[in-house]
Symmetry: C2
């Protein structure tokens, strides 16, 4: 009844407001699911303290980014707080074809573009337990000036209006719970009949 | 952002061919998720050795069952190998409204009727690793005569044609893996945006 055929990889999009703790959740997720390929985005913004080129982002100049746009090399890109953020298409296609799950950390505009181009992508939005808690987390991070923080909080409320386009909603109350829910979502998606039907003879 | 409102319970339908090990998977699942209410079906078939009334099934006579049909008390019912199997509607509705997840163990005809009446139900089909393994399991059980076993194997192939109506496909290779996948499916479904959107203010 079952023939073990290689499933195509799943394309997973994670979004969430700045300060929600997405990077921490992603680290936890990747330590549990080492088979997932985390797609490092390209950006024109300045590295924060502790961020490394090729790890957190591929940091490029505005000119380099606009060349990638011109050569149609991006799955999606968006401008956000005066900086470009984008995702390379070629690497992702290779990984998915090889049966490897690919994780993208992108904001709501980018997610909408991925949904258009890859309707089978799994879109997950991470929310904080409350706006008050989001504000506390942004202040605790202490990497941004007060007006930038206020801008991020305002942006967060705007972004939440895009939640209905997401398949799943995960509350980052504790990192381990949030990562656990995402792992369950990925397991469940791999059990979807449409992804496993080729395992059954004669159907 | 988040207001803890009680979610409605999820209606979960588990199907799978006779001998696939569904009862064992269900026991494992219920020992991990004690909050799930397992809906005991009504049937007119004879109890097998070790089966108890009100636990495995509510065992009733053909006359009693036909009265329930006449009073429209059943969410679904079906005749299968010359016996009726059916599910009481009232209890299920109460549990779901109270936010309790309800698990139904029903065959493919019944599942199709549940899907019609409750489009939001989660339909999961359990398959064995192979037909050869299914045959081995049916013989190992040693509760049925050879011609009954052959009938069940033939029926199993027929049932597998209904797999496309199911949302998820779980392979019962080991009981703990199968139960684990079902638990992940239930967690993922509770994270669906449509089930959590009321947690977010202003969306």
């Amino acid at each position: 009844m079952v023939q073990k055929k290689k499933q195509r990889g799943q394309l997973i999009v994670l979004s969430g407001p700045s300060g929600v703790g997405k990077s921490t959740v992603i680290s936890e997720l990747l330590s549990e699911r080492k088979d997932i390929y985390f797609s490092v985005s390209f950006t024109t913004r300045q590295p924060r303290v502790g961020e490394a080129d090729g790890v957190n982002y591929n940091f490029v100049t505005r000119e380099q980014f606009e060349e990638m746009i011109a050569r149609d090399e991006l799955l999606e890109y968006a401008e956000y707080v005066h900086n470009y953020y984008g995702t390379s298409l070629r690497v992702i296609q290779e990984k998915l074809a090889a049966g490897i799950d690919v994780l993208l950390d992108i904001e709501v505009q980018g997610a909408a573009k991925v949904r258009e181009k890859c309707p089978e992508a799994i879109l997950i939005f991470i929310i904080p337990p409350s706006f008050e808690e989001l504000s506390r987390r942004l202040h605790r991070r202490a990497t941004d000036a007060e007006d930038v923080i206020q801008g991020r909080l305002c942006k967060a409320k705007e972004e939440c209006k895009q939640i209905p386009q997401y398949d799943y909603l995960v509350v980052n109350d504790t990192v381990s719970e949030a990562a656990g829910e995402i792992i369950s979502i990925l397991t469940a998606e791999s059990c979807r009949t449409r992804n496993r039907i080729n395992l059954v003879e004669g159907v």
